[in-house]
Symmetry: C2
Subunit: 222 residues, 2 copies
């Protein structure tokens, strides 16, 4: 491909890394706001939303411009498509961080309650998956991308346990129904963040190996 293409892709990648860093911070702050009952952390999440949204539009525009003007083919084209997908996943991860921050603010209206240890465990796993998925993209690290896919299965198991535990809490202690429900919804938000990290990991695997492993349909159209 041309030097111009490489130069423009480097610019896009720089923007994407900036966005990834911001989204990672949003998720860290969101989890922190919940576990530490920190209003400041929740507000930090909201403060970053606008920047992330602006970056998403900017990256999309740049990619479309590159497509229109450089008309890349084959692997370069696939790379741009993957960048656009990762862009969308990052923005959606930011949306989930906003939801969690909103839940934290909601909980701050009431008295503190104990957070079950599995939810804390899930939060830690998610932060790791976010980190690894972004790193796997930056360094084209296939092994790290595969680790993200394995961790998703773990997270799925913890999510099921959290649901069972909190159903029991609600039945035993009706005054804990509202916070328990909020924690269940947060576990869904965390699960969706995990889904997006696996999308990113799949895109990295796709870029590196040139294969589409989504839905395990590897051979369609060949």
């Amino acid at each position: 491909m041309t030097k111009q293409f490489d130069k423009e892709m480097a610019e896009v990648n720089a923007l994407l890394l900036k966005m990834a860093a911001l989204v990672e911070e949003m998720i860290e702050s969101a989890i922190n706001s919940l576990f530490e009952r920190s209003k400041d952390s929740a507000l930090e999440v909201y403060n970053k939303e606008g920047k992330v949204n602006a970056l998403q539009v900017q990256i999309d525009e740049k990619c479309i411009n590159i497509l229109a003007l450089q008309q890349p083919a084959a692997i370069d084209l696939r790379m741009i498509m993957s960048v656009m997908k990762i862009n969308s996943d990052l923005e959606r991860m930011g949306d989930q961080a906003i939801n969690i921050a909103g839940s934290s603010l909601e909980l701050l209206k009431d008295k503190p309650v104990i957070i079950i240890s599995d939810l804390k465990k899930m939060g830690i796993s998610i932060k790791l998956m976010v980190r690894q998925s972004i790193e796997s993209f930056i360094t084209s690290d296939l092994e790290k991308a595969k680790m993200v896919l394995l961790e998703e299965k773990e997270v799925d198991l913890i999510k099921g346990k959290i649901l069972q535990e909190l159903l029991k809490v609600m039945a035993d202690s009706p005054w804990l129904i509202k916070p328990s429900l909020v924690f269940i919804l947060v576990s869904r938000n965390l699960e969706r963040i995990a889904d997006h990290t696996t999308n990113i990991a799949e895109d990295v695997i796709f870029i590196v190996t040139g294969r589409d492993i989504r839905h395990h349909i590897q051979d369609i159209n060949k």
Copy 2:
């Protein structure tokens, strides 16, 4: 653009319409499985998942091939990008239908419970939004697309009401905690379907008017 491009885009659009019809059926069956306690309807949703996933991959592949071989510019390029986004939204709508069908099967294990009227209302609204968003795409109907965006605000209000109602049910009738929680999660699934219909509506507005109204950042990079 070339005749070849028009021919290939017509093929892609035909696949996308096929997929949209399947996803619409999935959502109808999912809502039906919940409201009518129909195991058959739930299983129909699962039966269609594989087809929808295969179509998604096929449409993506075709779009990438068109990009690589036809190298479309300007409005044609934007059109393909929007088709790829709609493709992704449709598949995610199917995922939500699967979640709802799963919840229906879960509820079938227990005795029937009364479904609050607001959830039924939300289900009807969502089916309408799905229909309108798909029709707005098929017929490039700007007005229909705008209606979808207005309806989303309504759906958001109903969702909040459902949450309050069900929190009260759980507090008053602890034996209804589990089904109430399932209904809250279903209302979130329906909300996400609504989000995807608004994404499609925004893409239609973008295609028709050439403007990006996401995040209300219209003038970035200009």
